[in-house]
Subunit: 764 residues, 2 copies
C-alpha cells in the first residue's frame, strides 16, 4: 500500500513540508563493494547506434501531415518602441495562414500572449511578430514583408555602468545576502589578506539541437514534441497557459540534443505552437535557428566579482568576502555565485552579497552549474593568489582548509572524498614529482589546480516501472529525459543488475509523459541519483513478483529461489527454469514492478566534489594558450558506468575549457546588439583545440543518500576548469588574468604589460 | 502481491491450463440496478472531434523524414509459375533503393521471406516483387519496369467443383465434426423434415483505412505504426520473424480505421516494412491501395451449406444436420458455420460436418462473427421454412425450442434474455399487431425474424493502469485498441464512475505497446468485456490510494472517506478536500492504480444474443429489395454507453444488409480473376440504401462473467440480419432465395420463376 512520507525542506530560508508517496520497503544500499556485475562496469550506450546512424528521432525530425511552420520576427534593437506595425502585406502572401503581433496576439488564445508579443521590445531578439505559413520558405518571405517602425530607446547592457547610474535603481535586484560568523573579526585575525576582482563573460549554451517544438491536437488532446529537459515541466506550463488539464496533454522528448539548463520549461515557441495548432486545427512546428537560439533562449550570466580572503600565516583561512554583480538580462535569476565561497572551505567567517542587474539583453538562464562555475573561478583564483602570498603549495593550502563537515549547516556529509581526489589528481599530473613550470623557447608549460563543489544525490519525486515480458525481455518505463548523458544506458544497467537478467535484454523508455511516471527535470546532476533508485526499486518489485509467480507455479518456497543470469535457481544451485520459460508458459502477461524514489536520509549534506588539475602551454610570442592536459578527479559517489562517466567528464571539461579560453557573447556597448550570435564568431571548442583529458574518480561509499550510493556527475566536470587553467597560466607567465575568456590578445597583452586595444565590443 | 490463478481451458477438444496473474480482490459486480451515474448513460465519443476534424493520427498519416516507400508487384494470375523475372531495369531507375523477388528475398532478413516471395504464385494478388523507392511515384513506375514471364497454371476457385475432382483431395480440409445425441433417431422421431441448401458469397472487409504499416528503427529498437486490431499480436509476430526480443519492439495504433477481423496480426506489409527499414537504415512505409487490399488481405469465406431439420408436429425440433463447405482460399481457416446449429436451439440430436476447400484465392480470414453470419443465414432460413411447413408463427417456433441451458455443454448461461429480446422486437416491429404482408401495387412489404447467438464476456489477460494527476485529471493507460467501436469513451466512463471523478477529466491512452499493459486483440466482441473490468479494477485501486493518502495527510480514518464528483467527503457528508487539492499539495506526484482482469467464474456459458426483425419492400417489377426497417434487439449484458451501443448496432446491421443485398466478391470461374476488387463494382451500402434501424436492448444482470456485467456488442448486430431479410423476402414473394446476395436480378428471376442469365462470374 502507498505510504506518504513527509519531509521538512528548507527553501530560501523558509521551511515547508514536502510529501513523497512511496511503496514497499527501502532497499539495502549498493556500494562499490557490493559485488555488482553490471553496475560499475563500462557499457557502451544502448542508444549510441541510433544516434550516430541518424535513426534516433529528435524533435527536429518530426514532420506531420498538414504541418504549419511558425517563424518569429525578432527585434533588431536591444530596446525600442514599435511606433507602427503593418502585417497586411505579409498576411496577403499566398501560403500565409496568419500573422500575429502585439495587436492581435490575444486571439492566439493562451494566457501570457501579451508578455510574448510586446509593443516595447527590451532586448535584441525579443518577439515582434509570428508568421504561420504552409511552408518554411513562405514563412521566411513573409517575415520580410512585415513593416515595422521602431523608436529606438537607450539600451543598458553593462551592469557596472548601471550600478553607477542613479536613474537605474529599479534595475538592481538584491542584495541577496549570506553571512556566517563575524567577517570583521575574521579579517582582523588574518595575517595575510588577498583582494581580487574578477569578470566572467556571458556564455551561450549552443546545444547541438536548437530549441523547438511541434504541437498537434487530437480533438481536445494536445501532443507536443519538444526538445526539453523536463517533459513534466512543459506539461504543467502548457496546462496553465492553455487552460486545459494535464491529463489532456502529452509531451514527448525521446531524443534531445542537449539542454545544459536552457530547456527546463515550455518556451515561447512551445506555447505559441500549441496555441496556434489549436487555432488552425493543424500541427504547428516552431524550431529556432542558431541565431534565434543564441539571441533569445538565455545564457550563463556575465558577472563581476570582488573576492577578499584573509588567512593566518600558517594558511588557515579566517574570512571570505564575496561581492558579486550578476547580469540577469531582462528578467533572469540571480545565480548563486557564492556557493563555492560558502561551502568549499572550513572558514568561520563568510559573507556573500549578490546583486542582480537587469539589462537590455535576453534573460539569463541556468547553464551547467550556474553560479558555481563563475563563483568557483573567482574563489579558486583568489585562493591561488593567497597561496602565493603565503608561499604555500596551493594544493597544501586547499587540504589545510578542507571542510570535514558542511560549513553552512554544520551537517555531516553523506560522503566526501575530495581529499582523495586531490591526491589522486596530484599523482596523475605529477604535481609533486615534476617541476610545475617548464620553459621551452618562447613556450612555457605550467600546472594549476582548483577544487569544485556541487550538489548531488537527487531525490524524490521519481517513479519507474519495470516490465518483464513473456519472452524474458525487460522494459523499463520512466518519463525522465536523456539529455545526452547516457540515462538509458545507466538505467538499463541498474534494472539488469537488480533483476539478475542480461543487460542486453533491457530497453529503457523515457521522455514521454504518456507513461505518467513523474520524474524530476534532467539537470542539476540529479537524473541518475533520482531515477536510478526508482528503477532499482521497480526492478526489485518485479523480481519479487517473478519469484512469487515461480513459487506458485512450481510449488517451491519463494525464499529458496533467486534469479541470476536470466534463470531462476533453487537454493541448492540447480536451475528451476529460465525467466522466459516461466513467463512464456503464463501466456500473454508481463510482470510489472513499480518503484518510487525514497527521500534521502535526513541530516546529511549531499555534495559532489572534484579536483581539477590543468597543464597549459603559453606561446609568449602570440599569447596563444593551450591546455595540454586536464586531470579531472571526481567524488560523485558510486559510478554506475565508467564509460558514460568518462563522456560526461570529457564533455564538461571541454565546455569548461571553452569558457576559459574562447567562448563569450560579445555585445556592442552602445547599441546593445550581440555581435556573435552564431557559430562562426562565437567560438566553441573544436576537437583539435582540446588536449589530453584524464577523467577519473574516487568512489566513496554513500549509504545515506540513495540505494545506489550515486551522487551525480552532470555539473562537477565543468566547475573548476577555468580556475585550474587560470592558476596554471599565472604560474606560467607570472601575471594573473582576472577576466574570462583568456583570448590570445588578453594573454599577450598581460605578458607584455600593455592594454588590449579599445573596442565597443564587450563580453556581456 | 500478485496471485496466479490457474484455469482449465478447453480448446478444440483438449484441456490445457491457463494462468492469469492478478492482484487485489475481485470487486462486487455492477448491474443496471447499481445506481450508476456515468456508466449506462449516453456519452458522445471522447475522440469524435479528433476523428471528424481529421486531427486523429492514423497509420496513413505517419510520414517520417527520409521515409522509403514500399510497393508490391502482385500476380495478375490466380495460379502461375514465374519462368523468368528481370528486375534490372527497375533497379536502375533513379530513386529506386531495392527490388526484391523470390530470388533475393532472403536478403531482406526475416524468417518467412520465402513464403511471401514465391516462384509459384497461387492467387491473384500474390506477391511477386517488392520495390523500395524514395517516393511513391518512383515505386509505382519501377513496378512497371519489372519484366515477369509467367507460365499460367489451371486455377481452381470453386469448392463444389473441387469436391467433385478426384485429383484434388489434398485441397480438402476436414471434415471437422461435431455430434451430439443420435441424429438418425432424431430424424426418425420427426413428423416434419426440412432439407434446404444455401450458398453464401465471399465478402470483403473494405475497412475505411486500408492495411498498412510504417516501420523505423532507432538503433536496435523497432517502432512500427500499423493499422491493427492487436498491437501485441503484431509485436509477437515481428519478434519471431525478425528474431529480436519483444521489448525491443514498439507497436503503435492509436487510431485505426476498422479491422472487422482482417487486422489481427502482422501482415506481409508489416514484416517486410520492418525488415526493409532495418536493411536500409531508413523508415519504410507500405500502405496497400484499395485493390491490393481487396485482393490480398482476406475475406469472409464463401460457403455452401446443406441443412436438414426434423421436428415433431407440435414444433419441437428433434434433429439438426448441417453440412458445409468453406472456401478457405489458399490456406485460410475453416470458420465454424455450425455454431448456430449447435447452440441456438434446445435439440438433443445435432450433427455438423464442415469441409474446408483450398482454392486459388487469397486465404480467407476472420470477418465479424466469422462462420456465425453464414451459418445463421442457413439455419435461420431453414427454421423459417420449418415454421411454414408446420404452419406455425416462426417466432413461436423459436420460443418453443428456446434453449434454457447451453445445449453443447449443458452449462447454465451466465445470463440469457433472448426471449425478452424476441418479445421486445416483436412489439416494436408490430409482429403480432400488424399484418406481416402488405401489397401495394407492384410492391410488397413483409416482415421476417431471425435469432442470433455469439460468444461474449471477454476474459484475461487484460491489464490497465489508472493515474490521477496533481490537478485531479485522470489518465487511463491501456494498450488495447479502439477499432472504431468507442473503446476510449466506454473505458473513460468506467474509470470516472469507479473513481467518483468527472467523466470529462478522464483521458484514455491505448494502442501503444510502450505501456506494456497486455491486452487482448480487439475482436470477437471481447474488448470492453475484457478491458472494462481491468480499468475498473485499476480505478478502484487508485481510489483506494487516494483515500489512503487523504487519510494519512488529513489524519482521518480511511473508512470514513468516500469520493464523489471530484471531492473527498467525510462520513458526515462534509467535504474534506477536492482530489485536485489533495494531490496538488503533494507536489509532482500521480497516483497509479493497477488492475488486472480476473478470470470469469467457472461453470457458466457466456453468450450474447440478438433478435433481428426485418421489414422489407420488394418491387416485383424490378426485383429491387429494400429493407424499410430493421429492429435489432440485443442481450449483451449491461450496456455501458447507449450511444456507442447504437453506433455498433447500426454499423453491424448495415454491414449485414450489405451482405444480404449487395456485397459479394465476383470471381471469373475460368481464370480465377477477381472482377470487382474495388469500390465501384463491389457494392457496400450507401446511406441512401439503408432504411430505418431501431437498435435496442434488454439488459439482464450477469454477475458471473465480469465485474461490469457486460458481454459485448461487436459481432451480434451483423448476425441474423441476412436471414431476417431472407425470411421477410420469402414472406413477400412466396419463394425462398437460398443464395446470397439477393441482387435485383436474382429476386426478379425468383419472382418470375426464371433462371438468371448464365455468366462465368461467380460469387466466390
Amino acid at each position: 500500500m502507498v505510504k506518504v512520507v513527509k519531509t521538512r525542506v528548507e527553501f530560501e530560508g523558509r521551511f515547508r513540508d514536502e510529501y513523497t508517496v512511496v511503496e514497499g520497503e527501502p532497499l539495502e544500499g549498493w556500494s562499490p563493494k557490493s559485488g555488482l556485475k553490471i553496475v560499475g562496469r563500462p557499457h557502451p550506450r544502448v542508444d549510441g547506434a541510433a544516434k550516430v546512424t541518424g535513426s534516433a528521432k529528435y524533435t527536429h525530425d518530426v514532420y506531420l501531415p498538414g504541418m504549419v511552420y511558425g517563424k518569429f520576427l525578432r527585434s533588431p534593437y536591444a530596446h525600442a518602441k514599435i511606433t507602427h506595425i503593418d502585417a497586411s502585406e505579409a498576411e496577403g502572401l499566398p501560403g500565409v495562414l496568419g500573422v500575429y503581433t502585439y495587436k492581435n496576439a490575444a486571439t492566439l488564445g493562451f494566457g501570457g500572449a501579451e508578455k510574448v508579443f510586446k509593443q516595447e521590445v527590451t532586448y535584441q531578439g525579443d518577439v515582434v511578430a509570428l508568421v504561420l505559413a504552409q511552408d518554411e520558405s513562405v514563412a521566411e518571405d513573409a517575415l520580410e514583408l512585415i513593416r515595422v517602425e521602431y523608436e529606438p530607446l537607450r539600451p543598458l547592457v553593462d551592469p557596472e555602468e548601471i550600478m553607477g547610474l542613479d536613474s537605474s535603481k529599479d534595475r538592481i535586484v538584491g542584495p541577496k545576502l549570506y553571512e556566517r560568523g563575524d567577517l570583521e573579526k575574521g579579517f582582523a585575525e588574518a595575517d595575510v589578506i588577498v583582494e581580487e576582482s574578477f569578470k566572467t563573460q556571458a556564455a551561450l549554451h549552443n546545444c547541438m539541437e536548437t530549441h523547438g517544438s511541434v504541437a498537434h491536437w487530437e480533438g481536445d488532446n494536445l501532443v507536443v514534441h519538444t526538445s526539453t529537459q523536463s517533459v513534466f515541466n512543459v506539461r504543467s506550463a502548457l496546462s496553465e497557459e492553455l487552460g486545459i488539464p494535464q491529463s489532456k496533454i502529452r509531451v514527448v522528448s525521446e531524443f534531445m540534443g542537449g539542454g545544459f539548463g536552457s530547456k527546463f520549461g515550455a518556451g515561447e515557441y512551445t506555447v505559441v505552437a500549441a496555441a496556434a495548432a489549436r487555432l488552425l486545427g493543424r500541427p504547428v512546428r516552431i524550431v529556432l535557428d542558431r541565431v534565434e537560439e543564441n539571441l533569445a533562449t538565455g545564457n550563463r550570466s556575465q558577472t563581476v566579482q570582488w573576492v577578499k580572503i584573509g588567512a593566518k600565516r600558517d594558511g588557515r583561512i579566517t574570512a571570505i568576502h564575496l561581492k558579486g554583480l550578476v547580469n540577469v538580462g531582462e528578467d533572469g535569476w540571480v545565480a548563486d555565485l557564492g556557493g563555492p565561497a560558502k561551502m568549499m572551505y572550513h572558514c568561520p567567517n563568510v559573507k556573500v552579497e549578490l546583486y542582480g542587474v537587469k539589462t537590455n539583453l535576453v534573460s539569463s538562464t541556468a547553464f551547467r552549474a550556474p553560479g558555481y562555475v563563475e563563483g568557483d573561478f573567482a574563489l579558486e583564483s583568489a585562493v591561488d593568489e593567497l597561496a602565493r602570498r603565503l608561499n604555500m603549495d596551493p594544493l597544501e593550502l586547499r587540504l589545510l582548509n578542507y571542510a570535514t563537515r558542511d560549513p553552512v549547516t554544520n551537517s555531516e556529509y553523506s560522503s566526501k572524498a575530495l581529499r582523495e581526489a586531490y591526491l589522486k589528481g596530484a599523482e596523475l599530473i605529477g604535481w609533486r614529482s615534476e617541476p610545475r613550470v617548464v620553459r621551452d623557447g618562447a613556450k612555457i608549460r605550467a600546472k594549476g589546480v582548483a577544487g569544485a563543489i556541487w550538489w548531488g544525490g537527487g531525490g524524490p519525486p521519481a517513479y519507474a516501472e519495470v516490465k518483464v515480458n513473456a519472452d524474458g525481455g525487460v522494459t523499463v518505463l520512466t518519463a525522465t529525459q536523456d539529455i545526452g548523458t547516457g540515462t538509458r544506458t545507466a538505467l538499463a544497467q541498474i534494472a539488469a543488475e537488480e533483476l539478475g537478467l542480461p543487460f542486453s535484454s533491457v530497453r529503457v523508455v523515457l521522455g514521454d509523459t504518456i507513461t505518467e511516471l513523474r520524474s524530476p527535470g534532467s539537470g542539476g546532476s540529479q537524473t541518475l541519483a533520482s531515477m536510478g533508485p526508482a528503477v532499482r526499486a521497480a526492478a526489485h518489485d518485479a523480481k519479487n513478483q517473478l519469484l512469487e509467480i515461480a513459487s506458485q507455479v512450481y510449488d517451491v518456497a519463494k525464499e529458496r529461489l533467486t534469479i541470476r543470469e536470466g534463470s531462476i535457481f533453487r537454493s541448492d544451485g540447480s536451475v528451476l527454469c529460465s525467466v522466459g520459460e516461466l513467463l512464456g508458459n503464463l501466456g500473454d502477461f508481463s510482470v510489472t514492478g513499480r518503484g518510487a524514489r525514497e527521500p534521502n536520509q535526513e541530516g546529511y549534506m549531499v555534495n559532489t566534489f572534484a579536483a581539477q588539475f590543468a597543464e597549459v602551454e603559453v606561446d609568449t610570442e602570440t599569447g596563444t594558450l593551450r591546455v595540454l592536459r586536464l586531470v579531472s578527479v571526481h567524488d560523485s559517489g558510486m559510478v554506475v558506468n565508467p564509460l558514460t562517466f568518462t563522456s560526461q567528464v570529457e564533455g564538461g571539461v571541454i565546455m569548461g575549457m571553452g569558457y576559459a579560453l574562447w567562448e563569450g557573447r560579445l555585445v556592442d556597448g552602445e547599441s546593445g546588439v550581440v555581435i556573435n550570435p552564431n557559430l562562426n564568431d562565437y567560438l566553441v571548442a573544436r576537437c583539435s583545440d582540446v588536449g589530453e583529458i584524464t577523467p577519473t574518480y574516487v568512489e566513496p561509499e554513500d549509504p545515506h543518500t540513495n540505494s545506489l550510493g550515486v551522487k551525480g556527475i552532470g555539473e562537477p566536470p565543468i566547475i573548476g576548469v577555468a580556475p585550474a587553467i587560470a592558476n596554471a597560466l599565472r604560474e606560467a607567465i607570472g601575471v594573473r588574468l582576472r577576466e574570462l575568456p583568456f583570448t590570445p590578445e588578453r594573454v599577450y597583452s598581460a605578458i607584455k604589460g600593455i592594454n588590449p586595444r579599445p573596442t565597443t565590443a564587450k563580453y556581456l
